[in-house]
């Protein structure tokens, strides 16, 4: 199972805080983060990579993006 973090509509730095929380405290190896701006997409990817996670290409979904993160 993958944990889903819905950060759509939240302004900086909430999406990053929620993503880092899921990486550090979540049980699942896979994390899906939903965001609605390109800025959030870049910030979330940058933060996840800094934690040593693998970030797959973000997928356009509706008005935003779906980012797939794998904890290494």
């Amino acid at each position: 199972m993958a944990e889903t973090v819905d950060a759509r509509g939240l302004s900086c730095p909430q999406p990053v805080i929620m993503t880092l929380d899921a990486i550090k405290n979540g049980q699942d190896r896979e994390i899906i983060v939903l965001v609605d701006t390109d800025t959030s997409k870049e910030n979330v990817a940058r933060a996840a990579e800094s934690q040593g996670c693998r970030v797959n290409e973000a997928i356009l979904e509706g008005e935003g993006y779906r980012i797939n993160i794998t904890k290494e």
């Binding site: 509509g9 939240l10 730095p13």
Partner: protein
């Protein structure tokens, strides 16, 4: 999936910081006030004066740089398909934060952008301002860690996101219809300064082009002076900080080349030497920016890419400038205004109230 955004890389944001760092001293050379090639707070304050929201005669001018910031970001957002009209994340709270951000900035006499430019011009008082800014942002990060947030935005009509850009277009058109008349303090609908910082400005077209260029690049790079400090304190992430430092370094070098570097504390342009209030004013501004999620420049760029809440923050800053001068809160080179100290204390209490009470769970 679009191509990779090179401006969002570390070298990208460093490049944008360098671009702004060189351009600001050049705008000063072309006529803008000392260590004020660009100052978002001061320029919005000048706009407030030009439309008569305050009647401080020395700070009245519709600054084309601000117009350019918003429209440049709008253009970039449309070209790169990042325009996202959105509204509804506690707009009234953002308005109040904008008001107090401006009041704090005007007690120091500058926003974070100008604090950096003042430092790069040799103004030692800027060190106190930057320390205060960092302190205020640090308080903001404590709230963020405790779950502070203003809730989600909702997608809206494309035209809703055009409101601030259209206001800026309106100002530009009115400025062309009613240009400054020699020796006149009023032209048509606008007030113009005859002396003081408001009377010092680069040619309209050059200011506008510089603003458009910075707005475009800042939208691409997400350049943010508050985020620079916040991300470092909160996540140990120095991505945005490298852009901010780049701005200081390149502005310093440009000032050296242009002969605009004068080290010292006393007698600096549009500055005072009351260290405690330089620190405290910027601490208030820093906290307000942190709670609102962006420095005053970033709020303009976000408004350009469709964020209606950032537009409300900008309006809060412009109205706040009206209060700051009408109520005697703003400082002058002589020192803090008669009610400036009280305003900083009240502003801090208001920001702390917002930080403590707005911790909605994000479901």
């Amino acid at each position: 999936m679009k191509g990779k955004n090179i401006f969002a890389t570390r070298w990208g944001v460093i490049g944008v910081g360098a671009f702004i760092g060189v351009l600001a001293p050049l705008l000063q050379k072309l006529g803008n006030p000392g260590n004020m090639g660009i100052c978002v707070a001061c320029f919005e304050r000048d706009i407030a004066g030009a439309v008569g929201l305050h009647r401080a005669a020395v700070v009245q001018y519709i600054r084309p740089e601000i117009i350019g910031f918003v429209l440049g970001a709008l253009i970039a957002a449309y070209i790169f398909k990042e325009y996202r009209p959105r509204v509804g994340s506690a707009p009234i709270v953002r308005f109040v934060l904008g008001v107090f951000a401006m009041i704090g900035a005007l007690v120091f006499l500058g926003c974070p952008w100008r604090a950096a430019l003042r430092l790069a011009g040799g103004d030692g008082n800027a060190i106190l301002g930057l320390m205060g800014l960092t302190f205020g942002i640090w308080i903001g990060t404590l709230f963020l860690k405790k779950g502070y947030n203003l809730g989600r935005t909702q997608p809206t009509h494309a035209a809703a996101g055009w409101m601030l850009p259209l206001i800026m277009v309106g100002f530009l058109v009115l400025m062309l219809i009613f240009p400054q008349a020699e020796g006149q303090d009023k032209s048509g609908v606008f007030f113009y300064s005859l002396k003081g910082p408001g009377a010092m400005h680069a040619p309209l077209l050059l200011s506008l082009i510089a603003g458009l260029g910075i707005g475009f690049l800042a939208q691409r790079s997400r350049f943010c002076t508050m985020g620079a400090i916040r991300d470092t304190v909160l996540f140990g992430q120095t991505h945005l900080l490298s852009g901010f430092i780049s701005l200081v370094v390149f502005a310093f070098l440009a000032n050296l080349v242009l002969g605009q570097f004068n080290a010292g504390f006393a007698g600096q342009p549009v500055a005072h030497t009351q260290h405690v209030w330089n620190f405290a004013g910027m601490a208030l501004a820093g906290l307000a920016f942190a709670l609102a999620g962006g420095c005053p420049g970033r709020q303009l760029f976000l408004a350009g890419e469709g964020d209606g809440d950032s537009a409300v923050f900008v309006m809060g800053m412009i109205v706040g400038a009206g209060f700051a001068h009408n109520f005697g809160l703003a400082s002058s080179p002589k020192g803090v205004g008669p009610y400036g100290v009280a305003a900083v204390v009240i502003g801090m209490l208001v920001c702390l109230f917002i930080g403590f009470t707005m911790r909605k769970k994000i479901a």
